[in-house]
Symmetry: C2
Amino acid sequence: MTEISSIGEFALIKQLTEHIKLKNPSSIQGVGDDAAVIDAGDKQILTTTDLLLEGIHFDLMYVPLKHLGYKAAVVNFSDIYAMNGKPTQLLVSIGISNRFSVEQVDEIYAGIYLACEKYGVDVVGGDTSASVTGLTLSLTCIGEADKDKVTLRSGAKPNDLICVSGDLGAAYMGLQLLERENTIFKSQKDADFQPDFASKEYILERQLKPEARKDIIELLAKNKLQPTAMMDVSDGLSSELMHICKASGVGCRVYEDKIPIDYQTASMAEEFNMNLVTAALNGGEDYELLFTVPLEWHDKIKDLEGIHEIGYITSPDLGAALVTRDGQEITLKAQGWVAFDKK
Amino acid sequence: MTEISSIGEFALIKQLTEHIKLKNPSSIQGVGDDAAVIDAGDKQILTTTDLLLEGIHFDLMYVPLKHLGYKAAVVNFSDIYAMNGKPTQLLVSIGISNRFSVEQVDEIYAGIYLACEKYGVDVVGGDTSASVTGLTLSLTCIGEADKDKVTLRSGAKPNDLICVSGDLGAAYMGLQLLERENTIFKSQKDADFQPDFASKEYILERQLKPEARKDIIELLAKNKLQPTAMMDVSDGLSSELMHICKASGVGCRVYEDKIPIDYQTASMAEEFNMNLVTAALNGGEDYELLFTVPLEWHDKIKDLEGIHEIGYITSPDLGAALVTRDGQEITLKAQGWVAFDKK
């Protein structure tokens, strides 16, 4: 018997899905992108799903239920935007253990509905179940896009510029902070203990209540800029760059000094004595958009607020690497989750 | 705080969803049918999702992993057929704990792929996660139907005939048998204990490896018969009849002596000293199709193999009732799941 920890997430997914041959003419894009693409005449239907399990994806000690619902919805919307689509419908499945009250379940749904309201998405179905284990949330989002607008991971070409929206590493540093305060809280006998979150609001919000970059998709559309490849940053920039390189059959160079990082993220990393670039490259849960555009769009892109050029696509033989401040090239590594690892 | 067990499944779902107002023009049918209906031009897209949790929906003591995967897929397909649609794509999310090996996960997927092969469905995506609790499966199926073919629960009219495919109660009696043998097995110290499944193959298969009634949908289409209302029988005939009556604003009369029951089901109920009609009405997991057709189709329906007329639709003031063999009327009750109840 092969332990799952011995092969890891990506190898497991590969083993489970590599033999798939799509047979329905409407199955345009299957496993391997942010969302699946289904042909439906003029439009294409996009669909993506996320499973959130207590103890793996969230700790109810420090995640308010309403935030949990909000985030669960938003991370699905983010996958649809990452296809250059518009999320339209959501299916919500929930497994609830006896220790939850109706009011608590209402809180989770209030967060989901708040996100749906903000992003213009309809809840159209789902499944509600008792659970004898932990809280389970499984959300599936349906979206749509015009046939010629869908943007896969596989369209990046040598010399394309690599762009990323917003800033990176903040959600990860927010998680480190929450975990530290939670550990302190547990070890204290003082019932009045209050976590210290002053001037850390941004990184906390990035962890607890992330937003999907609908605004960036709209900004690109307004400027008639359609990326050649796109995905959202959920597992960390490093891992996502490798996904785009692999899917597109290209290499890349990304510059350390161009990776956008917020002041609070940097300050928190210093407080924790952590390597800031590692946090930005591997932290994950940023839900920013990573995309490539033709080189000649540089002049248009550089004036767009919230979009940063961080590198360029190369031929495949050059591999994927980070160029450090002192000009060294460090080969990028994909992490994926490591939750199967034994501790 | 309100305990969920104090209000039950249906009231909880109602509370969580009754305020929803669909806003996207493509959202045709939301919560409250077997699948959601999304407009996509010529075709309509159908989508449904099911969450399966260890300890609630399956017990790995007596459910082989391959069967679990097969059933998880088929119950989703059944929801699409129940809309008079054709399942085309499947998203598979799985939460796996450390105690599973790669080979065991492969077994689950082998069952899913076998079902997909049989029903012509493509796996196009999903999510794979570690789990610190039990095994979690969340499957979402996408299907399609011509705009004028989608069949909701809400179209039944007074005097319509009520029809059901196959036979009922078998999966429930299969579960009773599995649970009995499992209890005996656990109490035995004899390592050679073999469960007694002789001449019980049919009810076991109905529980462990159910099929969706693709054949019935094709039979109806071939005979140009489009039901006025339809759903699949997953929670039990009684509960499903009430769903159709509520959604259509009608009542119904169903005859005890017309409910189709297999010999093995009847024999097992006798062995367990259980009320056979209760098993057939409330057992659930039959995945048969329950549908209504205009009265004048009686002559066409009666010659179709595998379809049984079991009663008729009435005006709403007459309510929903079972007519017993001796002519008494018993008001139908919806059960839903009772897993939130404390034991």
